[in-house]
């Protein structure tokens, strides 16, 4: 609970520790499809009443699903707090899953997939990349699931999923805004106190075999410009190098003055945009580079230019000033997350999910302060290893052929 009386509003987040990593082939995408089902009615509030009641009381809701978590959130007028607790605890206690809503949500999710993946080259490339990087781990499949699996998921799958993963022992609640903590705690106990504990959540087995060399895939698509996605296997969030890789990510790709922006966008003019993605994951994640190229760019040349920059860091290291700059930006980034109720509740939930204790998140700025140029170079050497690389290339193809 993070009280703040600046404005008469509250944000509430519910984190469930379940995502696509808890799925299996045949029901990929169930975490995400299930997220949609959570708005389809429970014992007290019937189908679609959740948002109806919430919006009528001056609130709004949404949710998102990742590989590691499913997160529901509401922003609302402070006087609606009791109503929101009633709505949220109702669906955790007694969600109803009927065939009619499942049929309808399945179609909605298929449209979402068509939007984000099938008609979006970056989505297609990302999907191809994960299937390349992971052979055995569930990070192999997309969070939204394969189209055939979305089609095949049954009501019984959803019911079993709810029983296993949506119990209070697999969830955390984060509230930020205009309330009194003592009174709120009493209300939370009253709303959630009688929801029984669920069974222990099955562990996710990571049987990913070692990678024994670079992997490549090509994606032919009727687009006008080529594009390149390059990823290296990274560590899980609990690994000591995680924060060093945050610093490396900022040095390489965050800001107009970052190394790759300067070299590839402004210097060689090969890329239109460069993005460096390093997202914390509970299991080993990926450190990825996405290059949107000029239509006539030499793709191989762009790839070579990218590797030259990465080799330069591994061999010559970085300047202490670059590390200090990355730290200043990471610190500003941490503060920026804490400038709204929604941001505060979300940040704390995320810290707890990935770092084990939310308090760890509040000392991140100091932890970044302990990272120096030598550590950054060592991490670049260790993790940007060409044998641990996967490369996806988007090859423009004429639409008519």
């Amino acid at each position: 609970m993070v009280p703040d009386h600046d404005a008469p509003v509250v944000s509430l987040y519910t984190f469930f520790q379940v995502g696509s990593r808890n799925e299996r082939p045949g029901i990929t995408g169930i975490s995400h499809l299930f997220e949609h089902m959570m708005f389809n009615g429970a014992a007290k509030y019937g189908p679609k009443e959740f948002d109806e009641v919430l919006e009528s009381n001056g609130g709004r809701s949404n949710a998102y699903t990742t590989q590691d978590a499913t997160v529901y959130y509401e922003d609302f007028a402070a006087e609606a707090l009791d109503t929101v607790l009633d709505l949220e605890s109702d669906r955790m206690r007694s969600l109803t899953i009927d065939d009619r809503s499942l049929r309808s949500e399945r179609e909605v999710v298929k449209e979402e997939r068509r939007l984000r993946v099938d008609n979006e080259p970056a989505g297609l490339m990302d999907e191809a990349l994960h299937a390349l990087v992971y052979e055995a781990h569930p990070y192999r499949w997309p969070v939204i699931g394969w189209m055939g699996d979305i089609e095949a998921i049954r009501r019984e799958d959803c019911e079993a999923y709810f029983r296993t993963f949506y119990a209070p022992n697999n969830a955390t609640l984060w509230v930020a805004g205009d309330f009194e903590p003592d009174a709120l705690l009493k209300r939370i106990r009253k709303a959630y106190g009688n929801i029984p504990q669920g069974p222990p959540v099955p562990a996710v087995i990571n049987s990913e075999p070692p990678q024994r060399g670079e992997r490549r895939a090509q994606l032919h698509h009727p687009s006008r410009a080529p594009s390149l996605l390059v990823a290296y296997r990274g560590p899980p969030v609990a690994h000591p190098d995680t924060l060093t890789l945050d610093v490396l990510q900022f040095i390489l790709g965050v800001g107009e003055g970052s190394r790759l922006q300067r070299a590839l966008v402004y210097g060689k003019r090969l890329a239109v945009n460069v993005g460096v993605d390093w997202s914390w994951r509970r299991d080993p994640g990926v450190f990825a580079f996405h290059l949107e190229l000029q239509p006539d760019a030499d793709v191989q040349g762009a790839e070579t230019a990218l590797y030259a920059e990465l080799t330069r860091i591994a061999e010559q290291g970085v300047e202490p000033r670059e590390v200090e700059k990355a730290r200043n930006n990471l610190r500003a980034h941490l503060i920026r997350e804490l400038t709204s109720n929604s941001g505060r509740a979300h940040a704390l939930g995320t810290y707890e999910l990935f770092l084990g204790r939310w308090e760890e998140g509040l000392s991140l700025a100091e932890a970044y302060g302990r990272i120096d140029a030598a550590k950054v170079q060592a991490a670049a050497r260790r993790w940007l290893d060409p044998t641990q690389r996967s490369v996806v290339t988007l090859v423009p193809e004429d639409a008519q052929t």
Binding site: D6, G58, F76, S104, R224, G257, E292, R331, H333
Partner: protein
């Protein structure tokens, strides 16, 4: 309240515990400071009252292009040292062009505010638009257009804008077209800067845990002698209806499995009193997750993942639009449902219960619109630019609650397509044509036509 130097800082209470502190630099730059909160990040926003509507003919995209080049070199520093000055301290800079305005938004750790005001002043007063940087930015923008071809939603928005506003200064995307951008030389942004920049049509906003008197001194140091600029922003003639109403424009993307769909008709200009009733209509028809459109399109029929409506109000006019997407096979069905719901709203308006629900929704969530320093700075800037009045924030909720059902119904009758709307669809033209002909004469464009 008086300040350290010769300027006078005037404080105005604008409700909800917020006070605005105002003064002018000796050169004539109006400044508004809002002190609030404890977070050590300060939002700074410099707004000028001329945007893409001022792009000269054949130079579409010039305002946007000029803004992106501001940080690529000044009389004092090259692009890299500008980037370093901002990014080293953990500040961030955004450069924006809209139809009616251009804006520089800076967020900085509080202790670096004086230095960042200095950078902001430098970018605004003395950009030099180096040849090399102009050509890099031109190539990059053209490259971005090539990448944009793959974004059906963006193509739909671009096609809508240029068709709905055809013949009007709002009738092009702020980023311009391939032909116009390809023609840019350094004289173009330099000319835009010379014509439209200066303190007269500008306004600076500083929001955060700051001392207004100290900020006054810092701003004066940074901007003091900056003078001149046009008296007001570029004049834009009022919009005269929609030239292509009733037409169905298809942007052909043969390989797509999903169509993007837009409907649009004329609406009101920014600040019109009718806006509050219009928001009630919009929330009921296509705002939030429980609107009529969401219920009919997504919940009942599973036709789409998203559907929504919006009023976009600018200085010289506005649009009412509805957007969604669906698989190619159900495009005609989606359009029918969208049209039917808009028609029903136009004919009968929202119910009393719907009016009250929309009022609670808008009023309850209103504080979130100014929750961060950046968002408050942006709202304060719009209040000034569009003359919304100092009591805008304070009275918003009362004005929303004052809307009657009769007013909402009248507004629905006026803007929910009393004339046939313009329809834009992005998808495979050949497969779409038979589904679309019943909505009006079909005109097929290529992606190149809208880029």
């Amino acid at each position: 309240m008086t300040a350290a130097k010769q300027h006078t800082v005037r404080a105005v209470a604008v409700g909800r515990g917020l006070r605005l502190h105002r003064f002018q630099t000796p050169g004539g730059l109006p400044v508004t400071v809002a002190r609030r909160g404890r977070i050590p990040l300060v939002a700074v926003r410099l707004v000028l009252a001329s945007g893409s509507a001022g792009d000269p003919g054949a130079k579409e995209g010039l305002a946007d292009f000029t803004m992106r080049l501001l940080r690529r070199g000044t009389a004092q520093r090259d692009a890299h040292s500008i980037d370093e000055a901002i990014e080293f301290v953990g500040a961030s800079l955004g450069l924006f062009a809209g139809e009616d305005q251009v804006a520089v938004a800076l967020t900085t750790p509080a202790e670096h505010l004086p230095a960042m005001l200095g950078v902001l002043s430098e970018l605004s007063r003395s950009p030099v638009f180096p040849e090399e940087e102009v050509s890099t930015e031109r190539e990059r923008t053209l490259g971005q257009f090539a990448n944009d071809v793959d974004d059906p939603s963006l193509l739909a928005d671009r096609a809508l804008l240029r068709t709905a506003w055809a013949g009007h200064p709002y009738g092009h995307d702020v980023s311009g077209t391939r032909a116009s951008v390809a023609s840019f030389t350094r004289q173009d942004p330099a000319g835009f800067h010379a014509a439209y920049f200066g303190p007269r049509p500008a306004h600076l906003f500083v929001v955060g845990a700051v001392d207004p008197d100290a900020v006054a001194t810092q701003v004066e140091e940074a901007f003091g002698p900056w003078a001149g600029g046009p008296e007001r922003g570029v004049e834009i003639s009022p919009a005269k209806g929609m030239a292509r109403a009733g037409t169905v424009v298809v942007v052909d993307r043969p390989e797509q499995t999903q169509s993007q769909v837009r409907l649009a008709g004329p609406a009101y200009r920014r600040g019109a009193p009718v806006q509050f009733a219009a928001q009630i209509v919009n929330v009921t028809l296509g705002g939030g997750f429980t609107s009529r459109l969401v219920r009919e399109v997504r919940v009942k029929r599973g036709l789409s993942y998203g559907v929504g409506s919006s009023f976009d109000a600018l200085r010289a006019g506005g649009l009412f639009s509805v957007s969604s997407f669906t698989k190619v096979e159900t495009t005609g069905q989606l359009l029918s449902v969208m049209r039917q719901e808009v028609d029903r709203m136009r004919e009968r308006g929202p119910t009393q219960a719907e009016v009250e629900k929309a009022q609670r929704y808008l009023a309850g969530l209103f504080p979130l619109r100014t929750e961060t320093n950046e968002s408050l700075a942006a709202v304060l800037a719009d209040m000034a630019l569009y003359g919304l009045g100092d009591d805008w924030l304070d009275r918003y909720r009362d004005r929303v609650y004052a809307v009657t059902r009769a007013e909402a119904r009248e507004v629905a009758g006026r803007y929910c397509f009393p004339e046939a709307p313009l329809t834009v669809v992005v998808g495979p033209a050949e497969r779409l044509r038979p589904q679309l002909e019943r909505f009006g004469p079909v005109e097929v464009l290529s992606a190149d036509d809208v880029l």
